[in-house]
């Protein structure tokens, strides 16, 4: 069985074809690039997605070596995300499903990150840290859903890095540039607010303080201190959740998983709690079509649930802990 997955929640437009054994036959994407110093403009990003959609779709079929008629299921990312962007992916999937008479399956984007990560890393019952521009959440599976054991109370760690980076004139996503700049620091730690509220974290005050600090201190030192503070908060939150849940596996997914310093800190935190760290391969840590294809396929095989074209939807706000995951033991 083959499933097409269409991803378009934010800056990435991606199409991927995955088979029922979890083999990723193709994974094509085209990423909208924001101008220097700015973030993702929803209208501009959706225009980009519209322009590249047919090429990306064609390319994904070509690299998988299949024809569109061989596809058994059309899955699409139905949220959470930017409305205009989500609608492009939904239109592509509806068109394929409608014209070729394939079942149409809406997928929660965050669930896609978690399920693809678990499949690729082989983690069976992990505590998950989902860190991206859209999410900062700690999750564990219980009673048919991924339950939230801790999360950000305001902005995500991806937003923290992006908004700080933009204040320095970078374009989103800024995580890579910040990591690079931080590596130039001599390890001069500048005091920044470190906010843990029980199992939860808060980054908005840290952002304000870092932006203010950047006007008077070396950018390298501020980037370094920002990373040290924000990631230590996450590592501590993870340690708390590991200790509370007694999980022996920990998995990190999402775009910010590409940061080496964060992964290094999490390794140390897991080590202290005798847990094994599973890091989603960098290529599949950020947004991609395969996360949608794999999740749609699993859901359809288990539940045969599909939506009609008229009933199909996108939700800009759609929390992962409201999604039933009946196929997971």
């Amino acid at each position: 069985m083959l499933c097409l997955g269409v991803e378009s929640t934010a800056h990435t437009f991606g199409c991927s074809i995955v088979d029922s054994k979890g083999k990723v036959l193709s994974d094509e994407r085209d990423v909208y690039k924001a101008p220097e110093g700015s973030g993702i403009h929803p209208r501009e990003a959706s225009r980009h997605h519209m322009e590249v959609s047919s090429d990306v779709l064609k390319q994904s079929l070509a690299s998988a070596g299949v024809s569109i008629k061989d596809i058994d299921i059309a899955g699409y990312s139905a949220g959470p995300g930017l409305g205009p962007c989500l609608r492009v992916g939904a239109v592509v999937a509806r068109t394929v499903a409608g014209f070729y008479k394939k079942p149409l399956v809406p997928v929660n984007h965050a669930l896609g990150h978690v399920e693809l990560g678990a499949m690729l890393t082989g983690a069976s019952d992990p505590l998950v840290l989902l860190v991206s521009g859209g999410h900062t959440m700690m999750l564990a599976f219980s009673h048919g859903r991924w339950r939230v054991f801790g999360e950000t109370l305001d902005i995500t760690v991806g937003q923290l890095l992006d908004q700080f980076g933009r204040s320095l004139g970078f374009a989103s996503p800024c995580g890579g540039r910040i990591e690079q700049l931080a590596s130039l620091s001599q390890g001069q730690y500048l005091q920044l607010p470190y906010i843990i509220k029980g199992n939860d974290v808060s980054f908005s005050g840290l952002l304000t303080a870092a932006v203010r600090l950047a006007s008077e201190q070396s950018h390298a030192d501020v980037c370094y201190s920002l990373q040290e503070t924000a990631f230590a908060m996450l590592a501590e939150a993870v340690e708390r959740a590991l200790s509370f849940t007694s999980k022996k596996e920990m998995m990190i997914v999402g775009g910010v998983a590409a940061n080496k310093r964060l992964v290094q800190m999490l390794e140390a935190a897991c080590d202290r709690q005798s847990a094994k760290l599973f890091a989603c391969p960098i290529r599949f840590a950020g947004d991609n079509g395969a996360q949608i294809a794999w999740t749609a396929l699993q859901e359809y095989v288990a539940t045969k649930k599909r939506v009609g074209i008229k009933e199909s939807f996108v939700h800009q706000s759609w929390r992962l802990d409201t999604v039933d995951v009946s196929w997971r033991p």
């Binding site: 859209g134 959440m137 339950r147 939230v148 843990i196 509220k197 199992n199 200790s243 290094q264 709690q273």
Partner: protein, 201 residues
């Protein structure tokens, strides 16, 4: 002294103090945190914890007796409390009692800061631990943050326990009154709606 548990925040050792069974809670350095940041956090939380354990008692909430504090080593030696962790022994009645405790703290303007089931011990009476993140505040918002946290714990770790949160709030209201409990609940809702991808209703 023997290492009994490696918690998220601290290592727990069991030993004796003046002939009585006692616990040593040491916030050992975290290898992943920058030294300067780490030292500040450990010292700060140790001092806070010890002082708020006493403040809680004055507010009517049972907490272990503090024998000795060493802020430099980030160590607290305290009374050993016999009993079961509420995380593993939760019942609706214990939820009610936890709610009463939270309300008593809040009546004294104490925000616990880490109000989760694993920080309660079901002994002869209920005992509350881990005041490392505690602080004083009169703001309803800060009290609501405590309540939101325990709600998050109920809906994740204890999803199988029916009516855990309603029972907790009954306990809370039995001390704080329906009016204050209602205002806190409204504030909890507000915090939740600020959360990522929350549906605004």
């Amino acid at each position: 002294m023997q290492l009994a548990k490696r918690g998220a925040e601290a290592d727990i050792y069991i030993g004796e103090w003046a002939g009585e069974k006692a616990i040593s809670k040491v916030r050992s350095p975290k290898p992943y945190r920058h030294e300067a940041l780490d030292a500040t956090i450990r010292k700060h939380r140790t001092i806070h914890e010890a002082s708020f354990m006493s403040a809680a008692k004055a507010a009517g909430v049972m907490s272990p007796f503090v024998h000795f504090v060493d802020p430099v080593r980030a160590e607290i030696i305290m009374e050993f409390v016999e009993g079961e962790n509420v995380r593993d022994a939760i019942t609706p009645d214990l939820c009610h009692e936890m709610g009463r405790y939270a309300a008593m703290l809040h009546a004294s303007n104490i925000i616990h800061g880490d109000l989760t089931t694993s920080n309660f011990i079901a002994s002869k009476k209920l005992v509350l631990l881990d005041f490392g993140l505690s602080y004083y505040s009169e703001r309803l918002e800060d009290m609501a943050t405590d309540i939101r946290l325990i709600k998050e714990v109920f809906t994740s770790a204890h999803i199988a326990v029916k009516k855990a949160f309603p029972r907790f709030m009954e306990g809370y209201a039995s001390v704080a009154g329906e009016k204050k409990a209602g205002r806190i609940l409204e504030n909890v809702k507000e915090i939740e709606q600020r959360g990522r991808y929350a549906r605004v209703t």
